[in-house]
Symmetry: C2
Subunit: 351 residues, 2 copies
């Protein structure tokens, strides 16, 4: 897993300065496009181009099941993970609809489901096992399985590059996966489970209390071994979460901008950045999840998400919406006239 | 001006219930698309269609100059209003770029500029006067001028309907127009100018203090006459703000959904809703403006804007970005598979 520690690609600071200078000359009061200006300038620095673009998103959905689901922490049965893989492939899921609207490449990486899934177009079977082990009693995965999961993410970035994509979005599907994501946040940020455990797909108060107990017990049981971001990922994580962490690291190393989705993806982002801090420079954050633990993760990542629409679906759906914001930012940067071009007088504030 | 008091079109509650029922059957945890679900359901009720759509936005930019600009309350010279009208027409402004990306109809209504503007394609000359009067010393406009300005907005809605547009966006251009918009908010909501006056296009502390004094003096001078929403609009408003208020009222009466932009548009929305409360049902709110007075207006309108990106440009630019959110909401509502169609198992929470 040594590859995961290699530095991320460098940002082009000359281009960044040129992009900042251009923003100051566009026909608008300085700074009046707010975060849209920041997005365009950051993308220019990442892409080494004065004309940044987000025309071809790559949306990789990593799916996997979780042994912890046996503890009854989710509102949905585990068979839904595989059923949703079929739904992604057939175009009926939220992220399928968004990918179509964005003209994005959508590809599913099956990291290992509890119930078998037949071969499907648009789905690569990378199954590591029929779901992780139940981390209430043993590590969710072995060291070898963690390595395999990280490599699935690395492979997804190779696929994205082979298709000349210009922004990377990870989505996920895995019944019960807010439980490992919450456990990761608690272990990495030293936060108590009762302060950040949420309702996932919609559990009631009683089930939420049970979910808190399960996470508390698991963290207590494994406490001596939860020493590094990767050990936490291995012990209380999931195949799809590890694949996303691997993908983020590989994307940053390859110089591919990342748009992080919601709660599960942010847990993977947190692991990736804690393990290899250079990855952070390559990340945009799509939306504030309705899961209560997301705020804590965003603070730890020093991130302000682009959208706050009360979404809590996963699949990459928040990023599938937010990519439009990045596209508008690029269009404005590239296509607006300068004061000189438009013969518009500048303000006192613009000098 | 009696037309402005007629009721808005009715929402179709049968279709609304059908849309809510459909949302509950789509392959996602109930409520997990957050505000995107609300948008789709509201649009369905407005359009009387189980397949709501936002495919053809009409973006009307109302431009006008302000006598109050003579008090030195803006960072930009007044000639910029006309210069920006040319920039809109030539495609170089932010809203021009966004309109192109959204395949929207963009049309400028010149309500009266201080400097003459030659005939331009895409610009209708509706000039009432060469800007409003300086409301520090007299009402910004006469009763007749207010009627003319409201009618410009009404005409814009006729134009939008003639082109079969499915959502209405008002933008504005008028150097110094955060000053009348702030004065309107103060008068309508009984708020002190020093608590909500902002920096507009980017004025310094000294100019901001002067701007506060100007607004305070004007409100004091006219206090006996500031008795109704329309009298406030006439006395401390502007031609373009009145045109937007008229357009919002006419849009709601015509059954055309409205996407309100930022600070100036929200001042017009506030006048429209205070004058004719039935208009509120037809409004979506695009973005939280960086102008400090916007929060107060959103509270008064019981509105939560879709975006919060630190924008403060005007022109309809926040709405030009946010219309993408509405489009995604429609696509998801219309195109996602139901649990039954996709053969996906439902969760306990979904029952």
């Amino acid at each position: 897993m040594n590859w995961t520690l290699a530095s991320s690609a460098s940002l082009n600071t000359n281009i960044q300065q040129a992009a900042e200078a251009r923003q100051a000359q566009l026909t608008k009061p300085a700074g009046s496009l707010g975060e849209l200006e920041t997005i365009a300038v950051r993308l220019a620095a990442m892409q080494g181009s004065e004309q940044p673009k987000v025309q071809q998103p790559y949306i990789a959905i990593f799916a996997g099941d979780h042994g912890i689901a046996n503890e009854g922490v989710s509102a949905f049965p585990q068979i839904v993970t595989g059923e949703m893989i079929r739904n992604f492939a057939r175009g009926g899921a939220a992220i399928s609809v968004l990918a179509k609207a964005q003209k994005a490449v959508l590809h599913v990486y099956n990291c290992g489901t509890a119930y078998p899934v037949e071969p499907l177009a648009g789905v690569t079977d990378c199954s590591i096992a029929a779901g992780t082990a139940n981390f209430l009693h043993q590590p969710a995965m072995t060291s070898t399985q963690l390595e395999q999961a990280l490599a699935i993410g690395q492979k997804a970035i190779e696929d994205a590059q082979a298709q000349h994509c210009d922004v990377f979005i990870a989505g996920e599907m895995g019944i019960a996966n807010t439980t490992p994501a919450t456990a990761i946040a608690c272990a990495l940020l030293n936060v108590k489970p009762n302060t950040i455990t949420g309702r996932g797909t919609g559990i009631d108060d009683k089930t939420r209390n049970h979910k808190i107990n399960v996470i508390e017990q698991a963290l207590q049981y494994h406490r001596a071994a939860l020493t590094t971001p990767l050990s936490i990922l291995q012990i209380v994580g999931g195949f799809e979460i590890a694949a996303i962490a691997g993908a983020y690291i590989a994307a940053a190393q390859a110089g591919l901008p990342i748009l992080v989705d919601g709660f599960i993806s942010s847990a993977a982002a947190l692991v990736a950045v804690k393990h290899n801090p250079s990855v952070r420079d390559w990340m945009f954050f799509a939306h504030a999840s309705a899961e209560p633990g997301h705020v804590v993760m965003m603070q730890a990542l020093n991130a302000k998400p682009l959208l706050d629409l009360g979404m809590r679906l996963g699949e990459g759906s928040g990023a599938g919406v937010a990519v439009s914001i990045m596209q508008h930012a690029c269009n404005l940067h590239n296509q607006m006239a300068t004061f000189a071009q438009a013969q518009v007088s500048e303000g006192k504030a613009a000098h």
